[in-house]
């Protein structure tokens, strides 16, 4: 069951990353050229997914939109991991100390700000844009990784090989980097996949309300916002970008669950 999920998830993920990469060199139609004569065409031979209200090819827009979504979510996960993991390791290495306390209370504080609110504040200060969406989602990811890293590191600190390293005279930070971090890799890959999918959803939501990537950069959320007033005339305009989000997120979730079971059977939770 979970192996099927892993394969299905990997296929979906590859499909959309493939489309995003392909869009760098080739798309079926130029997405900046407007062809008003061909506007709002339903799916057909010339345009497999139809055209939008400016006559742009929806398949091409979805391919370029995949690039925006993936880039935003990927960088946001990178920020979360890059800052969160070292903080979590540091907190675990200084367990019970003031540094641990400050880091963990700081995490609690960030947790109290839903990512949407962070995005709202950043937008109020700096204006809307893809970079601000990345920062908002990235900040939200920091405590997720910090807590995960701290929790897992704490249990590793009690293990014999860590004790051996301490006896050998290695410092706490060096042990964190050389012995704890490699043992967290699987866990981080799994959580990274899950946060990646949450990032795609968050990016779509932010760009839907106009807080994400600004035109002319296509994004799935923006396409949905554009389609909303025309939904009764051209439902295909709303259908396909939404399906793209759904399938990408579904694929990443299935892959995350499958990877968890495959990489580390000890972590297996049939429930999730």
């Amino acid at each position: 069951m979970s192996r099927t999920g892993l394969i299905l998830g990997a296929v979906l993920t590859l499909l959309f990353t493939g489309a995003a990469i392909l869009s760098l060199v080739w798309v079926p139609y130029d997405i900046e050229a407007m062809r008003i004569a061909e506007r709002m065409q339903p799916p057909g031979a010339a345009h497999p997914l139809g055209t939008d209200h400016f006559g742009r090819d929806i398949l091409s827009m979805i391919m370029v939109g995949a690039r925006t979504s993936i880039a935003v979510a990927l960088v946001a996960v990178g920020i979360g991991m890059g800052l969160g993991v070292p903080l979590g390791l540091l907190a675990a290495a200084r367990r019970g100390g003031w540094l641990d306390e400050i880091i963990m209370r700081g995490n609690d504080l960030i947790f109290a700000f839903p990512s949407l609110l962070i995005a709202v504040m950043i937008t109020a200060v700096f204006g809307a844009g893809a970079v601000n969406a990345i920062i908002a989602i990235g900040i939200f990811n920091i405590p997720v990784f910090a807590r995960l890293a701290r929790g897992a590191a704490l249990s590793l600190w009690t293990r014999d090989f860590v004790l051996a390293a301490r006896v050998a005279g290695k410092g706490r930070l060096r042990i964190s980097a050389e012995h704890i971090l490699p043992n967290l890799a699987n866990l981080l890959i799994v959580q990274g996949t899950i946060q990646f999918s949450l990032g795609i959803l968050a990016e779509a939501g932010l760009s839907y309300v106009g807080l994400g990537a600004q035109p002319p950069i296509p994004s799935w959320g923006r396409m949905l916002a554009d389609s909303q007033t025309m939904i009764s005339m051209a439902p295909h305009m709303a259908l396909f970008p939404g399906l793209a989000i759904l399938l990408t997120v579904l694929g990443l979730n299935l892959m995350g669950d499958g990877l968890r079971d495959w990489l580390d059977p000890r972590l297996r939770r049939d429930a999730r």
Binding site: Y208, V209, G210, P241, L246, L250, N253
Partner: protein, 315 residues
């Protein structure tokens, strides 16, 4: 219990204080002067200075912070720069939409998740279980605003059961008000219900493996009786945590869903305020939502400690 409560209350206060500092000073660095924005580019320097004085903008930032916090504690959130009306009144007006919406969605989510999670746990590994897990996998992955748009297409435009947007107002009667919140609440509830179903199922499966369940079964209880009589109560802790977390997500998540349905809630207020540079409104709404999150988390912590005395010793 009292001592634990006092310690948690202290950390609640500190969190609120730090959060308010972060919000206030983050919005302090906004480029542009609200007074200049209100008066336009042709404003006379005298008028500008007068307005700045009237709004209190000529005072130092720490003083304005103290005014803001002090005012909030007395229910005075300041005066909106664009509408010249008290922010507290504007927020109260919008809360009449946003709060019932979040509660409605939370109710739906719980009503769906409890039976679905119990059902799946009871028939673990069966077709029912697989079906429930499959549907929740989709429910977690679906963007709720897209689901909302599809519901508008089907139930409002094609079937005409609901209106496509707007809010009837509570003056039109509770029924009419609830009706206009139904599609938004369903859209908000769907992903939350999916998460809660999964948590419910996994918590139940975990407790079903405990010794006391085996004892209960050995006594002659059926699997279903053991589940309802013994497992359910013990599975409530993770479920309560998620319900607590979800309430705050629902309040904030409503910002996007309100946009789909053109509901006059907090979300639309925030967006209007951002585009009008009405920062005091943005500040106050964000602070209110963060306050709600922190207080709900505190309440959940206290509820645990009350349910499970072992937790009182821990941080």
């Amino acid at each position: 219990m009292l001592q634990y409560g006092a310690r948690r209350a202290m950390s609640l206060m500190v969190s609120l204080l730090v959060a308010s500092l972060v919000i206030f000073f983050a919005l302090e660095i906004v480029p542009g002067d609200p007074a200049a924005y209100m008066l336009g580019i042709n404003a006379e320097p005298d008028t500008l200075a007068a307005l700045r004085a009237e709004l209190g903008l000529d005072r130092a930032a720490p003083l304005r912070y103290l005014d803001w916090i002090g005012g909030m504690m007395q229910g005075d959130f300041g005066i909106s720069h664009t509408y010249r009306t008290p922010v507290a009144d504007m927020i109260a007006e919008r809360l009449k939409v946003s709060l019932p919406l979040a509660l409605y969605a939370l109710g739906l989510s719980t009503l769906i998740a409890f039976p679905a999670g119990i059902w799946a746990a009871q028939r673990r590994g069966s077709a029912v279980d697989l079906g429930v897990m499959g549907v929740t996998q989709l429910g977690v992955a679906i963007p709720n605003f897209w689901f909302a748009m599809l519901m508008v297409l089907v139930f409002a435009i094609n079937l005409r059961w609901f209106s496509a947007g707007g809010f009837a107002g509570w003056e039109a009667g509770i029924g009419a008000g609830l009706k206009s919140l139904t599609l938004p609440a369903v859209a908000l509830a769907l992903p939350q219900a999916s998460i809660l179903t999964r948590v419910m199922r996994s918590a139940l499966l975990e407790t079903l493996g405990e010794d006391y369940i085996r004892t209960a079964r050995a006594k002659g209880l059926t699997r279903g009786q053991a589940l309802r009589g013994h497992a359910l109560r013990n599975a409530m802790i993770p479920v309560l945590t998620i319900i607590g977390l979800q309430f705050s997500f629902l309040l904030a998540g409503a910002i996007i869903i309100e946009n789909v349905f053109f509901l006059p809630g907090l979300g639309r207020l925030v967006f209007q305020a951002i585009s009008a540079r009405d920062l005091i409104v943005v500040e106050s709404v964000v602070m209110l939502l963060v306050f709600a999150v922190i207080v709900v988390n505190f309440a959940v912590d206290m509820a645990y400690a009350w349910v499970d005395p072992r937790l009182r010793g821990q941080r």
